[in-house]
Assembly symmetry: C2
Homo-oligomer: 474 residues x 2
Amino acid sequence: MHRAMDALQEANLAATACQELVVGEDAMEAAVRALLVGLGEDHRREGLRRTPKRVAKAFRDGTRGYKQNVKDIVQGALFPERGVDKRTGSAGGTGGQVVVRDIDHFSYCESCLLPFSIQCHVGYVPSGGRVVGLSKLSRVADVFAKRFQSPQRIANEVCSALHASIQPAGVAVAMQCWHIPLPENMKCKSSQVWIRTSHSSRSGVFEGENSSLWNDFVALLKLRGIDMEMDSHSHILPWCPLRPHEVPPCNGYAKRTTNDVTTSPKSGSTPSSMVSAVSSMLQSLGEDPLRKELVGSPQRYVQWLMRFRACNLDVKWNSFTLNSACVYERPVEDATDHGEIKSEMHLPFCAQCEHHLLPFYGVVHIGYFGNGDGKGIDRCTFQALVNFYGCKLQVQERMTRQIAEAVYSVSRRGAIVVVEANHICMISRGVEKIRSSTATIAVLGHFLTDSCASASFLQNIIPSTTHGGNKMEL
Amino acid sequence: MHRAMDALQEANLAATACQELVVGEDAMEAAVRALLVGLGEDHRREGLRRTPKRVAKAFRDGTRGYKQNVKDIVQGALFPERGVDKRTGSAGGTGGQVVVRDIDHFSYCESCLLPFSIQCHVGYVPSGGRVVGLSKLSRVADVFAKRFQSPQRIANEVCSALHASIQPAGVAVAMQCWHIPLPENMKCKSSQVWIRTSHSSRSGVFEGENSSLWNDFVALLKLRGIDMEMDSHSHILPWCPLRPHEVPPCNGYAKRTTNDVTTSPKSGSTPSSMVSAVSSMLQSLGEDPLRKELVGSPQRYVQWLMRFRACNLDVKWNSFTLNSACVYERPVEDATDHGEIKSEMHLPFCAQCEHHLLPFYGVVHIGYFGNGDGKGIDRCTFQALVNFYGCKLQVQERMTRQIAEAVYSVSRRGAIVVVEANHICMISRGVEKIRSSTATIAVLGHFLTDSCASASFLQNIIPSTTHGGNKMEL
């Protein structure tokens, strides 16, 4: 009863927030403000004050493809270039092709409105004695990536747009895409749970079962370690994790049941005012919220956001850990040289950046001094602590401090916490630093004065990525 | 005598081109046109027609840091955030720090005006109860990278600018930089010859031999595979290869002799009109060509460009290969299953992109049908062919075709050529697709009709990079 009233009150607040246009603000910003209120946040607090502006800008920038024109991009960048022979229709490169591999892009999933990552490879066989500037293949891919999309549609649209604008003998597009999983499915080996699919699209001379040009294209990708054949068996999971009942997509054109678009998330968890706010955002961005593929998407986006809803409960950490069920005898051989230092490494988390309403995710490493009785704190307890501070609108610095303080409150001799995270906001918008990764550290008690202790803890962290590996791993 | 006259004539032509301002064109574009003329090119031909506009834009964009203000970037992105304790001066994160690792940037070498690649890692210890938005660390680094620079100066300037604008307890900056080698030093394992240095700069609590915060910073970098200690011994080569007499820089502040800045390149190879054109470009970009570190740089840039000077000689490939010195007996075990297919893989090259006046570099793989006499063509002959077509203003598609046609002219049964390249223009400007790599293929003769033959050739190429590895490798 109380909960129903709370929900009603929040919905009203959100509706009001959505309607209240602050001077100089647009409808997008008001909608984001409604989402913040719906999440139980105070949208006037410092960290959130300019979040509506940032989120509106990010969405506008991230969907700029709606306003771009492929012909404008390609037209000025066609260069005359004789092919290896003069046979009609293939003068630019008979038997040859041009392939740009490993073009990184970001797009928005039309099913849940969250960003997903793309590694795109584009090939074409020049014709008519002209080639296109190499960077244009990337720019054209970007036009279709910067929309609300499905991976297969991007591949198809890039392929046909390039075919129409360059008029080559054929175009081949291959893509690997990664979708963020639900926070509760984030496991330590986070690279394993990112949902991956492969898609391709071809035209002209690349078409057909036995196209030798397609085979050459696949072989040229293999030289960069990209195995399209292996990939065709790699996506047994459904693509968008917020549509769990969806039929897994197949390689090439994704198969979908026609009913699944109407699968609506559980009601109750998605206040209708928030859903309307998201629909109005879609409209502001020039999209049609009634487009078949977008039906249900605002609900799913709100469903995702609600997982990060503000919680006013204080974590009962002290009494929790004193519960004997969560304290276990740690085998002696687990102790480090410093005897008393205990650690729990690579605890996974997924938080929501409060500045950009975009996920940041990674792992938490915790070190503390034991109480000399050989007893440690159970990993499940630490994971609960990480989940409590991680699964909300957050900033990494605060989360690190909060976990350190909580650990210190039960291990008064000292606590050290390292958080390593990838920030989607650093990757998908603005600075677009795809490989960047942020580490924060908070130190309390003995770890502050005993630099050997903290050094020993840091040395014991096993790197969870090989440098320069897949950007989705941490 | 003839050569002296030619040089004079070219100098005059270049000077004229530099003075002739086309309507709507600026001084930068006229200067680029003068460089094209100096290189013996027809600046009106299709591929070069808009090169001045592109190069001017790239230089302007690549040096935009001169016009940017760090305070503007940081000011709006300081967020109140309580630290783990309230001790004055370190409230934002006592004993803790925030580190963003693996930020990719590009800068221009002030010694030769060519771009170089940076991997930057920035850490700071918050103070005064406030943290800075993570992306701003990257944006501030960009302000100093986007200038004519030396690696150590970037590290120092980023460090002190962040210290002044965030007012933290301390700032740590670590960077790895890669400089392109001279084309003649490009070897097959190109990653080995890219000139690499490491630099660092620190302020506040990171300073001092025994700063535990610096040690933590180094430990957090190690989690990403970045070893600053190892790096401190890794740069025994001089940094800018166009200043061969320079004293190798040391880790931390680079030591330099004061005389080396006046080391001028050999005269004669650098027409003075081209040098003046480059000086005028520097001025247009807001730089002082008389700044100590830039003295001699226009000469060095012209020296670099002149390595790609147009050559009107036709390669005497037919007679060349018929020379018995270049034909050798190939051991039988080197033959593939198809018996007659011969190949020469991973022939390195460095060309100059004619659209952007920026290098593209990589490897060429050549396959051909033998003449049944067991004799093959020597690798040194193929390398000479690759150098001839590679070392000029080029586009990858044309270079691929030209090499294929040349091979076909002596091996009439069939030729297949694959060129794999990294384009600095794709990486350092515009689309900034750091990991992208372009492959082109040209096929002639039997390889066109026998798809098994071309497939077998492609399968025999050993990938020269692991996917997602260092961007400087191919």
